[in-house]
């Protein structure tokens, strides 16, 4: 494979990983800090994308659309946490799955009522559109580079928040021992609402960023949700660092698997066959990665051993 193509594919893997990280970061915080399985995380991603599409259509501004996605995600998160999720912290994981699955159905049908069944338009803004030429003469879309940049910025901001602020100390403490921290006078339920809203806002942001290069439609969140779960299982539940490394691993494995496996197989069989079998193997590669990591480290790369 020519170097230029290889570099382009590595960037593609990096970008896929960064997008996944935005989803997985919120999911792993909620899972780690509150012990809650939130299947409706993908619905918050969809809410962000629809809010962005609606605001972009009304104002024509992409930055306002991104702000709207963050706000809509956070608001939807706060409402959902206070109305439904709050009642689930002490319940069994099965009850949590049941209730948040119901939320998926409610969000999907609600969105259909408001916006209809046809996909919405959300375009890359003119100032981010088109490819730029990287050193070495490699053309690469500016928008995808921007996503990589935003992902890195979010990763650094989250790290600072968790490691360097008082709120971060409380979040870490809540993760370790929720009785103790509430005994020490921290308003645990407000902390939980905050963490949930933060995760939801990140999901909303991811939805808006991805919506501009994919399709904004009902049900767009669920496929991403499954991958985000794979990411946090690989990275270790509750670990932001794990979510970042896990997301990059999954993004890289998926992208490189998709291009390398069919061409590897093409050396031993005919092209059509290689394309078909290679594609099937590639779609499994992420799950094989997860299985391998779990055999090696049962609680994930950065998970606390239980």
């Amino acid at each position: 494979m020519p170097t230029a193509l290889l570099v382009e594919q590595l960037l593609n893997g990096l970008q896929a990983g960064m997008t996944l990280f935005l989803m997985a970061a919120g999911l792993t915080l909620v899972f780690g800090v509150m012990g809650l399985i939130n299947l409706a995380h993908g619905s918050l991603y969809m809410v962000g994308a629809f809010a962005a599409a609606a605001v972009a259509a009304a104002t024509g501004s992409f930055l306002l659309a991104l702000a709207a996605a963050l706000a809509a995600g956070a608001i939807a998160g706060v409402v959902v946490e206070m109305v439904v999720i709050r009642r689930l912290y002490d319940r069994d994981h099965l009850d949590q799955v049941l209730a948040t699955f119901a939320l998926i159905l409610i969000f999907s049908e609600g969105t259909r009522w408001v916006f209809g069944s046809f996909p919405l338009q959300l375009d890359i803004p003119a100032w981010l559109a088109g490819p730029i030429t990287l050193p070495g003469g490699i053309p690469y879309p500016l928008y995808r580079l921007t996503i990589i940049g935003i992902g890195l910025a979010v990763a650094i901001a989250l790290w600072l928040l968790i490691e360097r602020t008082r709120t971060g100390i409380r979040i870490r403490a809540g993760e370790n021992d929720r009785e103790m921290i509430s005994a020490l006078g921290v308003d645990i339920s407000r902390l939980y609402t905050l963490v949930f809203a933060l995760g939801a806002a990140l999901a909303g942001l991811a939805g808006a960023l991805v919506g501009a290069i994919q399709s904004v439609q009902v049900g767009m969140g669920e496929p991403v949700l499954i991958l985000a779960f794979v990411v946090i299982v690989i990275g270790g539940i509750g670990s932001i660092r794990g979510a970042l490394i896990g997301a990059l691993l999954v993004g890289m494995t998926d992208t490189m698997g998709r291009i390398l496996l069919p061409s590897l197989l093409a050396t031993i069989t005919d092209a059509s066959m290689a394309a078909s079998v290679g594609a099937s193997l590639a779609s499994m590669s992420v799950y094989i990665l997860m299985a391998v990591v779990l055999v090696w480290r049962p609680s994930g790369l950065f998970g606390a051993a239980t």
Binding site: A16, L39, S117, Q121, I213, Q217, I259, A279
Partner: protein, 381 residues
């Protein structure tokens, strides 16, 4: 999180929505199972709206029961059982997706129901698995892809990069394209069904020496591909079947689709009286432009109503002969059934244009005249 948790989540299927209609004497009772929720809902809604518009124009001669299959084969099968056993429908229709059609159609015709397909046309039901009571009013799945291959020859393309999702209809698509395309296949890629990011594939296209790209990526997959392709700066021309350029999704693709040539058996500017009336009535009724799927739903209902004029649905042989005759003014112009009850029709190439603020298609040329499918020879009924 335990495996049990995941299994529970996966096993929870939503309850089918109910839309019961009263039984009226002297009408033909139609059971429509179509996709009205989930990712593919836009297609089913258009088929339903086109069908119901034709029924309304006829003075409600059909008694239509509509149900949502949620794009799930098991739910489609349950709904079909209910329609056949308790609703006692005479005719069934509506299914959008080929895998659902394979689950429902053979059982329905075996239980003595007529089935008129407004969309799905799997090869298995066109060849050896054909049935005298099964009629496809849209196309055999391969047809539009064959037309794309034929168009690529006309346009002078010699080397194509081709891609489709890794599932039966995707494989049929690439087979159909290669059947007519006379040039070389420069690259062949199967993507994951439902995949939304095509950066890796687009990089391969950029690195290839192809002079054309053929893709079959229906629904949201196509929207994603086209937006990313336009943004990547790759300028190799793209061709595809109408499914990724249809009225229902073009607005979401936006500028990225402008100028792309795509193949279809119908377009809103096809010059015939039935079509002009249909396009006008559909816009008046629903306040949006009709899609390919709406035209197929409309033709399906009009075919059925034309058969009711000629025969009683209780007289099965006469009714079947009336359906075969297809004596209705199709919005596609000339329309006839081949020996396997699949359409013999013209297939056109269209170009995506912008009319005012609306993205839509303009008819360019006929690609395949009176085209029939290759499976008809295997059909013995």
């Amino acid at each position: 999180m335990t495996p049990r948790t995941f299994i529970l989540a996966a096993a929870m299927a939503a309850l089918p929505s109910l839309a019961l209609a009263d039984a009226h004497a002297g009408k033909v009772k139609v059971g429509m199972i179509t996709t009205l929720s989930g990712g593919g809902a836009g297609l089913g809604i258009d088929v339903r709206d086109g069908f119901l518009l034709a029924n309304k124009e006829s003075g409600d001669r059909l008694d239509v029961v509509v149900e949502d299959d949620q794009r799930k084969p098991d739910i489609a099968v349950q709904l079909a059982d209910k329609m056949i056993q308790s609703e006692k429908v005479d005719v069934m229709t509506g299914i959008i997706f080929s895998n659902l059609a394979m689950a429902v159609v053979p059982a329905a015709v075996a239980q003595g129901k007529f089935y008129l397909s407004p969309n799905a046309g799997p090869s298995a039901l066109a060849g050896k698995g054909c049935h005298e009571d099964y009629f496809n009013v849209a196309w055999q799945n391969d047809n539009l892809h064959e037309a794309a291959g034929a168009y690529a020859n006309k346009a002078g393309y010699r080397k194509s990069f081709i891609l489709a999702p890794n599932y039966p209809a995707g494989k049929d698509a690439l087979t159909g394209y290669k059947r007519e395309f006379a040039g070389d296949v420069e690259g062949e890629v199967f993507t994951k069904l439902g995949q939304k990011d095509y950066a890796a594939e687009i990089a391969q296209i950029r690195a290839s020496k192809a002079d054309s790209v053929f893709f079959f990526l229906p629904g949201g997959m196509g929207i994603s591909f086209l937006k990313q392709y336009a943004d990547s700066g790759v300028d190799i021309p793209v061709i595809g079947p109408a499914f990724s350029f249809d009225q229902s999704i073009l607005q979401a693709v936006g500028e990225a689709a402008l100028g792309v040539r795509n193949t279809s058996q119908w377009n809103k500017d096809l010059d015939n009286a039935a079509n002009a009336a249909f396009v006008e009535a559909f816009q008046a009724e629903y306040d949006r432009l009709p899609s390919l799927y709406a035209s197929q739903g409309y033709d399906t209902a009009r075919l059925l109503i034309s058969a009711m004029d000629a025969a009683d649905v209780g007289d099965r042989d006469a009714f079947r002969a009336a359906l075969e005759a297809a004596k209705f003014d199709s919005v596609r112009g000339d329309f006839a059934f081949g020996p396997n009850h699949h359409p013999v029709q013209n297939i056109y190439v269209r170009e995506v244009v912008k009319e005012g603020d609306v993205f839509t298609n303009k008819l360019i040329d006929v690609v395949l005249k009176d085209h029939a499918d290759v499976y008809a020879a295997d059909c013995k009924m």
